[in-house]
C-alpha cells in the first residue's frame, strides 16, 4: 500500500495546480479546450472588449456541430441566425488563430465524439468545453468538465480554470453486466439508483468488472451521462483498452513518445486504500434494459415494467413531478412500457453515435423494414464515424430498412437545426436528455440504447431486446 494513497481524481488535480489559496477556487491548467458555435461567441466578444488574446490557440480546437444541418450533402445553412452563429465561429477562429473543423472538414463531428476520434482526448489531461457532456472524455481517465461561457472566456484568456475542488464519488458496479444489458442501460440504471442530483458536487469514478469489461465506446456512453446524475465529471481509470484505442490516433503521441506516455497513463489509477468522499455500490443484477418514461433522465423504468402511478408516492414534490411528467408525455399510470407506441426513432448524439453503437443497431435492423407508422434516422457522431460506417456497409443496412442516413452533428438531440419533433410526437432516442421540449416543442422523448431504438423502429413499440 502506498504511503499516502490517492484517488485517480486527486492525482490529476494535483498535477494541474497552478495556484491554490485557502478559501479560494484553485487555478488549474487546462490541457485541451474544445469550443463550439453555441457557447463561444459571447466569450470571444468579451476578449475583444477587454483587448485580450487567446493564450494558447495551440491547445484550443473548435468545431461546428450544434446548429448545423445534417441532411445529405449539406452545403448551406438555411436558418439565418444559425448561419450567423457558425460564421461568427469561423471569424473568431481566424482572428485568434484557432484550428476549426467546420461542417465540410473530415475531422468534423460532435465535439465530444471528435476528441476521442482524433486522439486529442488522453488520460490524465484536464479537458474543458462550454458544454455539459464534456464528461464523455473522462472515459479515458481524464478530468473533463463542462463550463459556462464566462469560463470559456477565462480559459481562452488564461489557459486556466478556477475551480473549487469537487468531492469524489466512487460508483462501483458489483458483478458483470447481465446479457442484453448495454452501457446505456447501465448508466440509466445508475441515474435511476442515485437520482438526477445524486452526484451534485462530485467527480465520479466508475469501477468494477461491469465497467472495465466495457469497450472504450461503452465507457464513453457511461461517462457522457454523468452530468445527468448531477456529477461534475465522470471518469474511468485507463487500462490496456484505453492505450490500444489511442495508439495511432492522429493526435496521440507517436513512437518513443507513445511508449513514455503509455507508462505514465497506466500509472493513473486510484491507489489501494485511497478514500472517496462518497461510495455507492450497485449490484449489476439490478440492471435491465431501461426506457425513460418521463421528463428527466432519472425517470426510468425497466422494459418489463410499467409507468409509475403517482398515487403510490408519498412525497408531495415527487407526486406532482410524476403527474406533471405523465401529462406532458401523454401517458397513463400503470401502462406497460412495452405497450408504448412510437412515431420517431433517433439514433445519434454524443451518448450513442459511435461506430459500435451504429453496428449494434444495424445488427438488429438488418434485412428488416421499419414499422410503417415510424420514421427513423441515424446521425453518425462524426464525419469519420460516418465514413467508417459506410465502409462497413451500415448505411446500406439502415437505408434498406427505411432509415434516413445523415451527415454528422448534434441534430435531433437538441433540435437546434431543422431536425425536430412535432408537438406530441413520441420518439425513441439514443440521446441523453428527455427534458420538456428538448427535441422540439411538446415532443415526447424516451431515452434508450441503440439496440432498443432499432428494435422499436422495427416493431413500432418498445420490446425486450433480450428476447430477440
Amino acid at each position: 500500500m502506498t504511503h499516502n494513497p490517492k484517488t485517480l481524481f486527486d492525482k490529476i488535480w494535483e498535477k494541474h495546480l497552478v495556484d491554490e489559496n485557502e478559501g479560494q477556487p484553485s487555478i488549474l491548467y487546462v490541457d485541451l479546450h474544445m469550443i463550439h458555435e453555441v457557447t463561444s461567441p459571447q466569450a470571444f466578444e468579451g476578449l475583444r472588449l477587454a483587448q485580450r488574446k487567446v493564450r494558447r490557440p495551440d491547445l484550443t480546437v473548435a468545431v461546428a456541430d450544434h446548429a448545423i444541418p445534417t441532411w445529405k450533402g449539406r452545403n448551406t445553412i438555411s436558418d439565418p441566425i444559425a448561419k450567423q452563429q457558425v460564421e461568427t465561429l469561423t471569424k473568431n477562429c481566424d482572428e485568434f488563430g484557432i484550428t476549426l473543423y467546420d461542417m465540410y472538414h473530415e475531422n468534423q463531428g460532435i465535439v465530444h465524439v471528435i476528441g476521442p476520434d482524433l486522439g486529442l482526448t488522453q488520460p490524465g489531461k484536464i479537458i474543458v468545453c462550454g458544454d455539459s457532456h464534456t464528461s464523455t472524455n473522462g472515459a479515458f481517465g481524464s478530468f473533463a468538465i463542462g463550463i459556462g461561457t464566462s469560463e470559456v472566456e477565462h480559459v481562452l484568456a488564461t489557459q486556466t480554470l478556477r475551480q473549487f475542488k469537487p468531492k469524489t464519488m466512487n460508483i462501483h458496479i458489483e458483478g458483470s453486466l447481465p446479457n442484453g444489458v448495454t452501457a446505456k442501460d447501465l448508466i440509466l440504471g445508475i441515474i435511476k439508483h442515485i437520482g438526477i442530483s445524486g452526484a451534485v458536487g462530485h467527480a465520479i469514478e466508475y469501477t468494477g468488472d461491469a465497467i472495465t469489461n466495457l469497450s472504450m465506446e461503452g465507457r464513453m456512453t457511461v461517462c457522457n451521462m454523468s452530468i445527468e446524475a448531477g456529477g461534475r465529471a465522470g471518469m474511468i481509470a485507463p487500462d490496456n483498452k484505453t492505450i490500444n484505442y489511442l495508439e495511432n490516433k492522429p493526435f496521440a503521441p507517436k513512437g518513443k513518445d507513445f511508449e513514455i506516455a503509455k507508462k505514465e497513463w497506466l500509472d493513473l489509477r486510484t491507489d489501494v486504500g485511497a478514500k472517496y468522499d462518497t461510495k455507492i455500490i450497485i449490484d449489476s443484477n439490478e440492471l435491465e434494459p431501461f426506457v425513460t418514461w418521463g421528463t428527466n433522465p432519472g425517470m426510468v423504468a425497466p422494459i418489463t415494467g410499467k409507468i409509475p402511478n403517482p398515487k403510490h408516492t408519498v412525497d408531495e414534490d415527487e407526486k406532482s413531478s410524476i403527474s406533471k411528467a405523465l401529462e406532458y408525455m401523454g401517458l397513463k399510470p400503470d401502462t406497460k412500457i412495452q405497450d408504448i407506441q412510437i412515431d420517431r426513432v433517433f439514433i445519434g448524439s454524443c451518448t450513442n453515435s459511435r461506430i459500435e453503437d451504429l453496428e449494434a443497431a444495424a445488427a438488429i435492423v438488418k434485412n428488416k423494414k421499419i414499422n410503417p407508422n415510424v420514421s427513423a434516422m441515424v446521425v453518425p457522431g462524426s464525419t469519420l464515424v460516418k465514413k467508417i460506417a459506410e465502409e462497413k456497409g451500415l448505411d446500406k443496412i439502415f437505408q434498406d430498412a427505411g432509415f434516413e442516413w445523415r451527415e454528422a452533428g448534434c441534430s435531433m438531440c437538441l433540435g437546434m437545426n431543422p431536425d425536430i419533433l412535432s408537438p406530441k410526437e413520441r420518439c425513441a432516442s439514443t440521446s441523453n436528455r428527455n427534458f420538456e421540449g428538448r427535441q422540439g416543442k411538446d415532443g415526447r422523448t424516451h431515452l434508450v440504447s441503440p439496440e432498443m431504438a432499432a428494435a422499436a423502429a422495427i416493431s413500432g413499440h418498445f420490446i425486450d431486446i433480450r428476447e430477440l
Binding site: P41, S132, F251
Partner: protein, 204 residues
C-alpha cells in the same frame, strides 16, 4: 461585472423541483451571439402558448408577481445543459436573487459569473417562503450579502445563509475573474515551463 450587496425585492415562487436549463431558456434562442436580450425568452415554453399568446396561468405572468426580482424554487434548480444563456435570461428579466434548497453545479457557478446571487436555504424555510409569497400580496425579502442575512418585512423569517468567502468577495466588489487570474501570470508561465509534453499539443 456589476456588484451586489443589499437587495430588497418582490418574491416569485416557482414551486417545482429539478427545473432544467432547457426550460429556463429553450434551445431555439441559443443561436444569438450576444449576451443581452434573452429576458423575453425566459421560460418561453411556459410563459407563452403555442400560438405565441401569453399563458396567463404561468406564475410569472400573474399581475401579483410583476416586477419580481427574487425567484424561489425547489431542489436542483438549473440542472442539465451548461448554457450560460440561462442566467443571462434570468438577469435580463430582472431576477437578481435565486433561492432554492439546492442547485446544479454549473448553473450555480454561472450565476456568480453574472452577478446573480444563488442562495441555498433549508428546504423547510424555502417551503415557508414559497407559501408566504403565494398567500400574501407583494411579499418582499431583504438580502444583505455582506452580513449574509435574509429577512422579510415582518421579520417572521430572518436567517443567515452560507456562501464561500471568495465568491462573496467577488460579488461584493464586482470583480472580474480573468483579471484576477492574469495577475498570476508568472505562476502560469512557471507551470507551462514544467508541463509534460504528453499533455498534448493540438496544432500539427
Amino acid at each position: 461585472m456589476k456588484s451586489i450587496n443589499k437587495h430588497n425585492g418582490k418574491v416569485v415562487p416557482l414551486d417545482m423541483v429539478n427545473i432544467d436549463t432547457d426550460q429556463i431558456i429553450p434551445k431555439q434562442f441559443l443561436k444569438r451571439i450576444e449576451r443581452t436580450g434573452f429576458g423575453k425568452y425566459l421560460f418561453y415554453d411556459w410563459r407563452f402558448k403555442s400560438d405565441g399568446s401569453i399563458n396567463k396561468d404561468f406564475i410569472l405572468n400573474q399581475e401579483k408577481y410583476k416586477n419580481c426580482s427574487i425567484l424561489v424554487t425547489g431542489d436542483n434548480f438549473g440542472s442539465g445543459s451548461s448554457r450560460e444563456h440561462a442566467p443571462w435570461a434570468l438577469n435580463d428579466y430582472g431576477i437578481e436573487i435565486i433561492i432554492a434548497p439546492s442547485f446544479a453545479d454549473i448553473f450555480y457557478n454561472n450565476c456568480f459569473q453574472n452577478g446573480i446571487l444563488p442562495i441555498k436555504l433549508d428546504k423547510k424555510i424555502v417551503k415557508e417562503i414559497i407559501s408566504k409569497s403565494k398567500n400574501e400580496n407583494g411579499y418582499n425579502l431583504n438580502i444583505d450579502l455582506d452580513s449574509q442575512l435574509i429577512w422579510d418585512d415582518s421579520e417572521e423569517i430572518s436567517i443567515k445563509f452560507d456562501i464561500e468567502k471568495f465568491r462573496k468577495y467577488c460579488l461584493l466588489n464586482g470583480l472580474d475573474d480573468i483579471g484576477l487570474t492574469l495577475k498570476k501570470e508568472n505562476k502560469i508561465q512557471q507551470f507551462e515551463s514544467t508541463r509534460s509534453l504528453t499533455g498534448g499539443v493540438v496544432k500539427k
